[in-house]
């Protein structure tokens, strides 16, 4: 187990290293230090600002020193300085992150709960009306673009049904620290949107995985022991069937924490996805870089967590 974890964490560090090199090469290597500094300065590059940047990023020094300097800052949790906004990138990211986390965690709870539930029911009652219903719903939401679903929900709940539902706001976001109830109300539609488009894959994956497991010999053994069917499904089948679902969930959540671009755009949630879109529009390089590095880190951490969960679920992984 320890050896397994050390190996996986080692791999994760290697991946992060490679990602940092890629990001570095993408942004730091260019036609001369002045040009690179100008890019970092964005649209507001006064000659004095460019000189300042050249100095701050050590652009006069050899590439490997530039890299070491940059990575050294990253390792200390310093994502750099945003010259365009005149703030540290950490501040900008720190303001955006809670919104994205709120959106992703709530939606993930919904899509995992619904996806696993509908997948298990579909598998256990395979080819029943319910199975067909869940399958159709999955295909429908799977093929629906996020923004269409998002605007449709806004139209129905916040506009058409406004007199009935009253409290659904059109868009925008309220931090949980400001007003927890408003935070919740503002996130209902975004949560539903993100959950519905994501859940389809979970329904299908859980169904397939569950059907596979229900055909396993050890399920026959459990039944031959006189275990009630409920227990066969919940205790014997579900745990095995969830292994691939855990993988998918880990990767989806890890990716989404780096920013949910479309949902954040549609609902005007100032999260990482929204921020990076703004930054791209403003050619605000340090922000783009900071969020890219953060997103890569989330994905890698999610991978390590998935591996740990694997070991928790499956003793064959844990004990070998």
């Amino acid at each position: 187990m320890t050896r397994f974890l050390i190996r996986r964490i080692g791999q994760a560090i290697l991946v992060l290293f490679a990602a940092s090199i890629a990001v570095f090469l993408l942004f730091f290597v260019g036609p001369g230090p002045d040009q690179v500094a100008r890019t970092f300065a964005g649209r507001l590059g006064t000659p004095q600002r460019i000189l300042e940047i050249k100095h701050a990023l050590h652009l006069d020094q050899p590439l490997y020193l530039q890299y070491l300097h940059w990575v050294g800052n990253l390792l200390q949790g310093n994502l750099g300085f945003d010259y365009y906004k005149g703030q540290s990138v950490n501040t900008v990211v720190g303001q955006a992150l809670p919104a994205t986390v709120s959106l992703v965690v709530g939606a993930a709870i919904l899509w995992i709960a619904y996806g696993v539930f509908s997948g298990v029911v579909s598998a256990v009652r395979s080819r029943s009306l319910l199975d067909r219903g869940f399958t159709t719903a999955a295909l429908f939401f799977y093929s629906m673009p996020t923004f269409v679903l998002g605007y449709t929900l806004i139209f129905i709940f916040a506009y058409e049904l406004y007199r009935v539902t009253k409290f659904f706001p059109f868009s925008s976001y309220v931090p949980i620290t400001t007003n927890p109830w408003q935070w919740f109300v503002h996130l209902i539609l975004p949560w539903l949107t993100l959950a519905m488009v994501t859940a389809a894959a979970y329904t299908r994956l859980t169904r397939t995985s569950m059907l596979d497991v229900l055909g396993e010999d050890y399920i026959r053994t459990a039944r031959s022991k006189g275990m009630p069917e409920q227990r066969v499904i919940r205790v014997h089948a579900l745990r095995s069937a969830l292994t691939p679902v855990v993988t998918l969930a880990g990767l989806d959540i890890g990716t989404a924490l780096g920013g949910v671009i479309i949902t954040e755009q549609v609902f005007g949630i100032p999260g990482l996805g929204w921020t990076i879109v703004q930054a791209i529009g403003q050619q605000d390089l340090p922000i783009i870089m900071g969020i890219a590095v953060l997103a890569a880190t989330f994905v890698v951490i999610a991978n390590v967590i998935v591996d740990i969960l694997y070991a928790v679920l499956d003793p064959r992984v844990r004990l070998n």
Binding site: T221, A222, G226, M227, H236, R316, L319
Partner: protein, 346 residues
């Protein structure tokens, strides 16, 4: 009255290719404490016929009766079946690795079953699990009880399955090819463990195998199955020394110690029949060296064969030993050696 009485069991599956008639009118009895061997090549319907009795074939169409302790298992309620499974009729299977749950400790899997059927404390269930593991010959059972199946060797896993099966002192143990997936060296050991448990607990055993050699020492009665039907039934001695059915003869000849030439195994030529719309006549006719015209049109019924009471066989060959030998010789001469048609057609 026998412990288990199976009558005219028929099982079929609806598949994309059509209806598979896996079991076609099988009847047999199992007496308390006795061992019934069921032999036949793979695909003969051995597993389906026993799993159906346990209510483990899902989506199958089933008819017939399987009376166990006065109750027809084929029509029993879900609740009744759950109380019978594991407690009164236990099963072990071919592959002990895949038959045990990889995520749960061996002891836990035994305790779970004890606690499902009896109200005992966790500690007592655990003590019984340890004791059972000791009985089936697992060293250091007090430690191994907390191991996972993948930490056991193949033979150990099957012993653990046997321990689990015997946990509630069932009246009947169904062992479906319990040694097929094991190393040759441990096959005999596992068979001995089953036998020892049977003697200790007075359990009746249905021992399923495709290898007559496996049941040579243990079965009281033997049922030979082919193409979803019973071909022959006899006590063990009669079956080995005085069999009637050409299919049984074929199985015997594919055994190293019984075939004419000791060193050369003679597998039966040809393939088992398709169970999708089986043709009329005897299912073995396409592969039978003694096939006669009537075999292809009329399925021979099970009828008394030879002198032993209870010896029955489904074959048109004469039942008097001397007449049979004579006819067989003639039939073989009429058809030049090596041209016995095979079922596959190629």
């Amino acid at each position: 009255m026998p412990l288990l009485q199976v009558e005219e069991l028929r099982v079929s599956f609806r598949t994309a290719d059509g209806i598979v008639q896996a079991v076609r009118g099988v009847s047999y009895d199992v007496e308390a404490g006795q061992t019934l061997g069921i032999v036949g090549e793979s695909g003969s319907g051995k597993s389906v016929s026993t799993q159906t009795i346990m209510g483990l074939t899902r989506g199958a169409q089933v008819s017939g009766r399987a009376v166990f302790e006065g109750k027809d298992l084929l029509t029993a309620s879900t609740g009744d079946m759950q109380r019978i499974r594991g407690a009164k009729i236990a099963m072990i299977f071919q592959d002990p690795l895949t038959s045990l749950h990889p995520y749960y400790k061996v002891g836990w899997q035994i305790m779970e079953m004890i606690q499902q059927h009896e109200s005992v404390s966790k500690d007592d269930a655990r003590k019984r699990a340890v004791e059972l593991l000791r009985l089936v010959g697992i060293p250091h059972p007090d430690r191994r009880v907390d191991d996972y199946p993948h930490q056991f060797s193949g033979g150990m896993r099957q012993r653990a399955m046997i321990a689990m099966a015997m946990a509630l002192n069932p009246a009947l143990l169904i062992a479906d090819e319990p040694t097929t997936a094991l190393d040759v060296t441990v096959q005999a050991q596992v068979l001995r463990v089953i036998q020892r448990m049977q003697e200790m607990f007075g359990t009746a055993v249905i021992l399923i195998t495709h290898d007559l050699g496996v049941i040579a020492d243990v079965a009281d009665e033997v049922l030979v199955m082919y193409g979803g039907e019973v071909m022959e039934r006899a006590d063990r001695r009669t079956l080995f020394f005085n069999s009637h059915h050409p299919y049984t003869e074929g199985l015997l000849q594919s055994l190293p110690a019984y075939g004419g030439a000791r060193e050369r195994l003679r597998p039966i030529p040809g393939q088992p029949p398709s169970l999708l719309s089986p043709p009329p006549g005897c299912p073995f006719a396409p592969r039978c060296p003694y096939v006669m015209d009537r075999c292809r049109t009329e399925d021979p019924p099970l009828a008394a064969a030879g002198e032993e009471p209870g010896h029955i066989s489904a074959c048109w060959l004469p039942h008097r030993g001397s007449e049979r030998a004579e006819l067989r010789r003639k039939l073989l001469e009429a058809e030049p050696a090596g041209t016995a048609p095979s079922a596959g057609g190629a």
